[in-house]
Symmetry: C2
Subunit: 189 residues, 2 copies
DNA sequence: CCTCTCATGTAAGACGTTACATGATTCA
DNA sequence: TGAATCATGTAACGTCTTACATGAGAGG
C-alpha cells in the first residue's frame, strides 16, 4: 500500500498528471524505484474516489495528445498522508535480489562461470554508481531527506561493489593453477 | 520465477518435504528471505509436473500428522538448475523499503516524529545485526557462497545503522534549541 | 480438554509487470 | 509516410501474502 501514499506524497510537491508522475519518479528516484502506468492510473483513480486528491478540469494544455488530468491533494489527503507518514513501517528491508538468489547456489556450478557472472555484476554496479553520483550532484539543493536517500544509495552501491570484488578474489584463489587460462589476466589485478 | 529455482536448489542439499523447506529457509536465510506455504506447495507441484523433482512414497514417518512427501531432484532437474544458475540475472537490486518510502517524505511532517521513527529503525536493525552475527558463527563451516552472503548481510546491516545514526544527528542539529525538551537526553550522545 | 507441533493443501486478494489499444501532434 | 512523444487507460498474467480448512498425536 505504500505506492498509493508515495503518489500522494509526490503530489505534495506540485500538481501533476499521471504521465508526469512517472517521469518524475524516473528522473529523481529511478535508481531505486520503478513504476508503470498499470499502477499509476488505477491508484490515481482510487485516491480520487477516496477523496484524497481531486482532479481539476482536464486541460488540453499545450498541443499533443489527450487532455492532461491534473491532480491535487485535498485537505483530507494532506491529513491522511501525515497519518501514514508517522506510522511505524511494518516490515524491514529484505534483500531479495535475483543475483544473490543464484549466488547462494554457485557451489553447485562451475566456479569460472560464477566469476563471469560476478564480473557482469561489477560492471553493472560500477555503471549505476556513476549515475547515482552524478544524480546526487544535480540535486544537492533539495531537502535533507531526499539527499540522505541518495547518499544511502551511493553507499550501498559502493559497499556491494567492494563485496563483489573481494568475493571474486577469494574465488580466484580457490581455482587450481593449472586450470587457469582465460582467467589469468584479470586474476593478476 | 527464482523462487521455484531456489526450492530446486535447496533440494540439491538433501531430499525434503514442503514443511521442512520452510523451516530450512527460516533457519538459514530467514534474515533475508521469507516464504510461505502458499508458495511452497504449488511450486513443488509445478516442479513435479515438469519432471524436475520426483516424489518418493509418502511416508508416515514418525508419528504425528499426515505423511511427509519427500521430494528429490531428478537428473533433468539438476540439468535445468545448472542452466538457470549460469544465466545472467535480469534485474538489479532495488531498495524498495517501506521505511525508506516514508523517509523521503519526512520533510512534510514533524521532525521530532521523524527522529522517533529513526530510533525505532535503529533499535530494530541493531537487533537484527546481533542475530546475523550469531547466525554467521553458527554456520562458518558451510561453503564460501553461503558464508559470503551472510557477510554481505552483516555489512549491509552495519552500513544502514551507520547511516541511520548520522542522519539522526543531522536532523537533531536542525531543531531549534528552545523546542528541544523530550529529545535532549538522546541528543547528547 | 485444549493447545501446540507436524504436515498437507486451497482460495481470495493485494500487488506488480507486460503488453496492448487509442489517438493527436511533431519531426525527419 | 512513418516514427517518436505526449497522454490516457485496460486486461492478462505472475507473484506474494494472508487466512482458512483439515487432521493426527503429544503434552500440560
Amino acid at each position: 500500500m505504500s505506492l498509493k501514499y508515495s503518489i500522494l506524497g509526490l503530489l505534495h510537491y506540485e500538481d501533476m498528471h499521471g504521465y508526469r508522475i512517472k517521469e518524475h519518479i524516473e528522473k529523481n528516484f529511478g535508481h531505486m524505484w520503478s513504476i508503470n502506468f498499470g499502477q499509476i492510473y488505477p491508484n490515481l483513480k482510487k485516491l480520487e474516489q477516496e477523496g484524497l486528491v481531486s482532479m481539476g478540469e482536464a486541460v488540453q494544455n499545450g498541443q499533443k495528445g489527450p487532455p492532461k488530468k491534473l491532480y491535487s491533494v485535498t485537505p483530507k489527503g494532506k491529513q491522511e498522508f501525515l497519518t501514514w507518514l508517522e506510522q511505524s513501517p511494518e516490515k524491514s528491508m529484505l534483500l531479495r535480489d535475483p543475483f544473490l538468489m543464484r549466488f547462494v547456489f554457485f557451489g553447485f556450478g562451475d566456479t569460472k562461470i560464477a566469476i563471469g557472472l560476478i564480473d557482469e555484476q561489477i560492471a553493472a554496479y560500477e555503471d549505476q554508481l556513476h549515475h547515482r553520483q552524478q544524480n546526487k550532484k544535480r540535486w544537492q539543493s533539495k531537502d535533507i531527506f531526499v539527499n540522505q536517500v541518495a547518499e544511502l544509495g551511493i553507499e550501498m552501491n559502493s559497499m556491494f561493489l567492494t563485496w563483489l570484488k573481494s568475493t571474486r578474489k577469494k574465488l580466484v584463489e580457490t581455482i587450481p593453477m593449472d586450470t587457469m587460462n582465460e582467467m589469468d589476466k584479470e586474476a593478476s589485478e
